[in-house]
């Protein structure tokens, strides 16, 4: 039970840290990393929720959510990176 709380609490702390970093830092890469850390925090919470005690198999639903969430986060990050790279290219051309 303590481990579950530690894990879930760490997830919430990660979420807040990521949010802070997202709001404070301007560069795209830092914002993206911050978003992924926030996402990681939520996944932490979901995995902690899935724990149902020793010897009992964990709840599969939150695990499925985490898997889907990771796929979504990867694709969104990829799109943001492509858009960022395109902007960088245009800026380089201008100079």
């Amino acid at each position: 039970m303590t481990a579950q709380f530690l894990y879930g609490g760490a997830g919430l702390i990660l979420f807040v840290l990521g949010l802070w970093s997202f709001l404070v830092h301007a560069p795209l890469l830092r914002k993206l990393i911050a978003l992924n850390i926030m996402g990681g925090g939520v996944f932490h919470v979901l995995i902690a929720v899935a724990y149902r005690g020793d010897g009992v198999p964990p709840d599969p639903v939150p695990h499925a959510l985490v898997l889907t969430g990771i796929v979504v986060a990867v694709s969104a990050t990829a799109l943001a990176l492509v858009l960022g790279a395109r902007m960088q290219d245009e800026d380089d051309d201008r100079i």
């Binding site: 979420f15 949010l19 997202f22 795209l28 914002k31 993206l32 978003l35 926030m38 996402g39 925090g41 939520v42 919470v45 979901l46 929720v49 639903v61 939150p62 959510l65 889907t68 969430g69 979504v72 694709s75 969104a76 799109l79 943001a80 858009l83 960022g84 395109r86 902007m87 245009e90 800026d91």
Partner: protein, 491 residues
């Protein structure tokens, strides 16, 4: 069971545009034809869906034959059906318009798959039956919408849509944390089951309230509720015309739809009058600020984008009134008026953006001050702008006239008279910004020898604007029946 599933309009509404996305990716040379065919088929299944909801009240389907605990459930009630119908008719209009708008093969090849995917995600969102499905659809909408908006390829468009993408991601992660909290507390994701669990467990009020705050603030960011609207005007104003129409008319509405669902169905025991009042105040600020900035905008598309900020504000004004009105015909009228406002704005704003796109293509710019002679060169398009504009102001007989009328009636009946001032001020400002455009467009320039006419792009804009004024205004009665509400002297 399986054969039923394949022909179920609930499934078709999502599967057909998805299939369209695959087909237009696979055969880019036939993208226009395939896209239009799939758009027609999707629209037909949405109409079937609305007819079925009209007959049976609500529909439900569990995919893959799993238990309700595990299966992905789709459902449609009156609210979902009304929005699906609006989104799909507008979607068809946008598709027809896009087939004439894009001359550039490369852009066209990228437009159709993304647009069909966005369409599938919108329908999926309106018909989703569980919290996590809503999250996936929100993310899909955010990703495809940002990619579509960046299609013009200009630096401004890419920068605006990158910001839109990041803001959208922030909103959905906040929503997802709310979902995680709700699952921790209640052990289910199904909307109906979570609603029952929230109503039954008052001890978990703190968790539910935290989840509510996280989810609603994340979604308010996506719905561009003042002061979280900062990303909307540049993103919507820099996108290609058909994309602007989809973003302003449909995508923003989708986030609002989820807020409404959560607020009314899920968190009814948790939301108090104070919270509703807070959102109402933000809505009021959005109405005034958005209309004011629309009046001051120098470009037509920027004006339309700020007008969207204001129109979203009106929708939030309904929340404190709904909270203060006990169940009964007056509350039903408010609910129907809310849906009517949202649907009317969907038609009016899409028609407006499509028409503005034509003005921009023909004049080469969309500066409001230099629009002289537009009425002479593009008579049908100018008429579409005027029609859509009158729906944005809320002139009779548009649907938003009835919506605003019922809104003010509800405000006076529940003693919250101050909203009437907001609505009046917003409508006056809207009248000012619409007439500012029209006064420039109807200049005294001589009539040219040839009008510019292009049926494929002009007709959708005109029809969408016409629906917002004539159909929704003069025949809004059926909406009450579709929503399963009692008509208490309204409309």
């Amino acid at each position: 069971m399986q054969s039923d599933l394949l022909t179920d309009p609930l499934v078709l509404c999502i599967a057909l545009p998805l299939l369209g996305a695959v087909l237009t990716t696979a055969v880019p040379r036939r993208a226009v034809l395939l896209g239009i065919l799939m758009a027609l088929a999707t629209c037909a299944s949405a109409i079937t869906l609305a007819v079925l909801v009209w007959q049976y009240g609500s529909l439900r389907v569990l995919l893959g034959g799993w238990d309700p605990e595990l299966a992905i459930g789709l459902r449609a009630d009156g609210l979902a059906a009304a929005l699906v119908l609006m989104a799909n008719v507008v979607g068809l209009g946008i598709s027809v318009y896009a087939s004439g708008y894009y001359r550039d093969r490369e852009r066209l090849g990228a437009f159709w798959p993304l647009w069909m995917l966005l369409w599938a995600a919108l329908n999926g969102l309106f018909l989703a039956g569980d919290l996590f499905n809503l999250y996936v659809m929100l993310e899909l909408i955010g990703i495809t919408a940002a990619a579509l908006g960046a299609l013009t390829g200009s630096r401004d468009a890419i920068a605006a849509n990158l910001r839109y993408l990041l803001v959208g991601l922030l909103g959905s992660i906040s929503y997802l944390l709310g979902v995680a909290l709700l699952y921790t507390a209640h052990g289910t994701l199904d909307l109906a089951l979570v609603a029952e669990a929230i109503a039954a467990s008052e001890a978990l009020f703190a968790v539910d309230a935290t989840a509510l705050v996280l989810m609603v603030s994340g979604l308010a960011l996506k719905a561009a509720l003042f002061p979280l609207h900062f990303w909307l005007p540049p993103a919507h104003a820099n996108a290609p015309a058909p994309v602007s129409a989809a973003l302003s008319a449909l995508v923003v509405k989708a986030a609002f739809y989820v807020i409404l669902r959560l607020w009314l169905d899920l968190f009814a025991p948790v939301t108090g009058l104070a919270a509703a009042m807070f959102l109402g105040m933000l809505g009021a600020a959005a109405v005034i600020w958005g209309s004011w900035r629309a009046l001051r905008a120098e470009r037509l598309k920027l004006m339309a984008a700020y007008s969207t900020v204001a129109q979203i504000g009106y929708l939030f004004l309904f929340l404190p009134l709904l909270a203060a009105t006990p169940p009964g015909p007056p509350r039903d009228n408010l609910l129907a008026a809310l849906v009517l406002m949202a649907v009317t704005h969907g038609f009016a704003k899409s028609g407006f953006f499509l028409a503005v796109g034509l003005v921009q293509t023909n004049a080469g710019h969309d500066r409001i001050d230099d629009l002289g002679g537009t009425a002479q060169r593009l008579p049908a398009t100018t008429f579409a702008i005027a029609l859509a504009g009158s729906a944005l102001i809320g002139l009779p007989p548009s649907g938003s006239f009835i919506g605003k009328w019922l809104l003010m009636q509800g405000a006076i009946e529940s003693g919250q008279w101050w909203w009437v001032i907001v609505v009046t001020a917003g409508s006056l400002l809207a009248a000012a910004y619409v007439f500012r455009v029209l006064s420039r467009a109807f200049g005294l320039e001589p009539t040219p020898l040839r009008f510019i006419t292009d049926a494929r792009t002009e007709v959708p804009a005109l029809l969408l604007a016409l629906v917002s004024v004539a159909v929704l205004g003069l025949a809004s009665g059926p909406l009450w029946t579709l929503l399963g509400l009692q008509a208490g002297g309204g409309a």
